[in-house]
Amino acid sequence: MIAAAYAIPDILAFLTAAVMIVVGALGVLAVKNPVHAALSLILTLFGVAVAFVAQAADFLAVVQIIVYAGAIVVLFLFVIMFLGVDRFETVRVEPLVGQRALAGVGAVITVGGLIVLLASSHWVTGAVAVSTSGHPAAVGAGNVRAVGTAVFTTYLFAFEATAALLIIAVVGAVLLARRERRMDREEEA
């Protein structure tokens, strides 16, 4: 039945992406060294990019690599190297009491919700490009146009709100990092 819905190359692409995503995600959790964890994260991000390409969302795939692999994980690495959170860390002492139980409950809710969603909707839609609802104009170069139109019309409010949020975060970070040095000195004296 699956073979009827998908062609062999699609299945291969999906398997490649799935293996990359799952192995990377498990690696982030299992590996002790923070830099290795960041590398596993990159593997996951590339897997997601492959999945995007398989869904004919080329633009999203490239943006995924530029933004996440090209900028955000580089920042992670920068912080890891700068602060020297290098090598192995002992996590015997729990900073937050009861976080493991809460995390377990969260995981159960998420996985349960996903299963409910999958069971209540179509498991196999058979459509190669879900993101563009199979519309040929949105494949390839039309991709950018479709995303751009959606961002600047349908989702304009969310887009601008995100932009404002990021600006606020940046200003807040600058404010927190750049405190008056003289005040510290007076407190000491």
Partner: protein, 410 residues
């Protein structure tokens, strides 16, 4: 029309065995040409810098020392392969390839020439023409920093680690300006595909993005790409005077060779990208000689790319290295606002001239405000830091120390 041009015309009549063979051969030829170009580039750089410094440079191997690179490569391959004891072995071995692969992939999107007819198939002289085009180049330049960062970190040594911290900060600082100038080019073209970008510049020198967008985006792009390449004068990553050899201090033999190869391959690829984005790629005058018309676009492309490759060599010989804080200053306070402002002005002019002038006025206003803000911010320094003079006038270390200790005793 947009959709049709995004797909390689070779696939127009279905994928046959001949098409597959042509595509494979095209890929191998492209790769071989790039490798050949790298060996020549290394020789060219050494010879040109030797000339500028009144030296002779390599002379022993082959005519004019042309085979020096091959001899060096052979030497590096047969040398002993060392991995430092403190190194993270897996990442240490992975890092060189992480810097080589992006250089190779980026070259695939560069249109080297026009279209050639081979056995009845129209063959575009470009390894791949993905619809996302230049974005692929941006993604790969983002990825290429991992080679440097991970090499430095995994060496388990002090100076390489500093080098990789510098590399990641530098990459992030210049990526934004780089992206913004590419947006300017894409806005003017209306397409991301490099094929379309080149086609839009094909009708003479006044259509080249270099002139059509004003010189500013080109200059910003050239500076930002030089910084991304870690070429002089932006090579704080491998500043010999400060960091021994930078990220590749601990590397030897073949792995060092791979880094070396990647650096020069990146230089060639980025020269080709500049030519593609701003100088019309293979566009140029084609004389009406039968059977040889296909050759001239390739020649034009080679001439333009060589020009920029020589420019990089010239930079290396002529310009002193930036200090790290100057580098950050240039990236964040000059290039990013300038590229953002210029992008807005170009976007305005693309709609209507009046909008363009309005945008220009707004950008000038914003620039003035920004300059004023930076000036106020620079004056605001208080506390122990204020005892140090402004960056640029460097006091003697003893004076700084005395200023600090005097203050502590108050």
């Amino acid at each position: 029309m947009m959709l049709a041009s995004a797909v390689d015309p070779i696939y127009a009549h279905g994928v046959t065995l001949a098409v597959v063979v042509i595509v494979l051969v095209r890929m191998v030829v492209g790769f071989a040409a790039l490798m050949g170009a790298v060996t020549v580039m290394i020789w060219f750089e050494r010879k040109a810098i030797s000339d500028m410094q009144s030296r002779i440079g390599p002379t022993r191997w082959g005519p004019f020392g042309l085979f020096q690179t091959l001899a060096d490569g052979l030497k590096l391959i047969v040398k002993e392969d060392l991995v430092p004891q403190e190194a993270d072995r897996f990442v240490f071995k992975l890092a060189p390839y992480l810097s080589l692969i992006p250089a190779l992939v980026t070259f695939a999107i560069v249109p080297v020439g026009g279209t050639v007819d081979i056995a009845g198939h129209p063959v575009v002289l470009q390894m791949a023409n993905p619809p996302v085009g230049v974005l692929l180049m941006l993604a790969m330049s983002g990825i290429s920093v991992y080679g440097v960062v991970l090499a430095g970190w995994s060496s388990g040594s002090k100076y390489p680690l500093m080098s990789s911290v510098r590399a990641s900060a530098q990459m992030i600082s210049y990526e934004a300006a780089l992206g913004m100038t590419i947006v300017t080019v894409v806005l003017a073209t209306g397409s991301l595909s490099t094929q379309n970008i080149v086609a839009a510049q094909a009708h003479g020198i006044w259509h080249w993005n270099l002139i059509r967008l004003g010189i500013v985006p080109f200059v910003i792009f050239l500076i930002a790409i030089t910084a991304e390449l870690n070429r002089p004068p932006f090579d704080v990553v491998e500043a010999e005077t400060e960091l021994v050899g930078g990220f590749h201090t601990e590397y030897s033999s073949f792995r060092f060779g791979v880094f070396y190869l990647a650096e020069f391959m990146n230089t060639i690829t980025m020269s080709a990208i500049i030519v593609t984005l701003f100088l019309g790629g293979p566009a140029g005058w084609v004389p009406n000689i039968p059977h040889l018309r296909w050759l001239f676009p390739i020649l034009w492309f080679l001439i333009k790319t060589t020009l920029f490759a020589f420019g990089y060599i010239w930079f290396r010989a002529a310009l002193p290295r930036f200090r790290y804080d100057q580098l950050m200053d240039l990236g964040w306070k000059r290039l990013i606002p300038l590229s953002l402002g210029w992008m807005l002005i170009v976007a305005g002019f693309l709609i209507r001239p009046s909008w363009g002038f309005l945008m220009a006025a707004l950008v000038i206003l914003a620039w003035t405000l920004l300059t004023r803000t930076v000036a106020i911010g620079a004056q605001r320094q208080e506390g122990a830091d204020s005892l140090l003079p402004a960056i640029g006038e460097r006091p003697l270390p003893g004076r700084v120390l005395r200023a600090f200790t005097d203050h502590e005793e108050d």
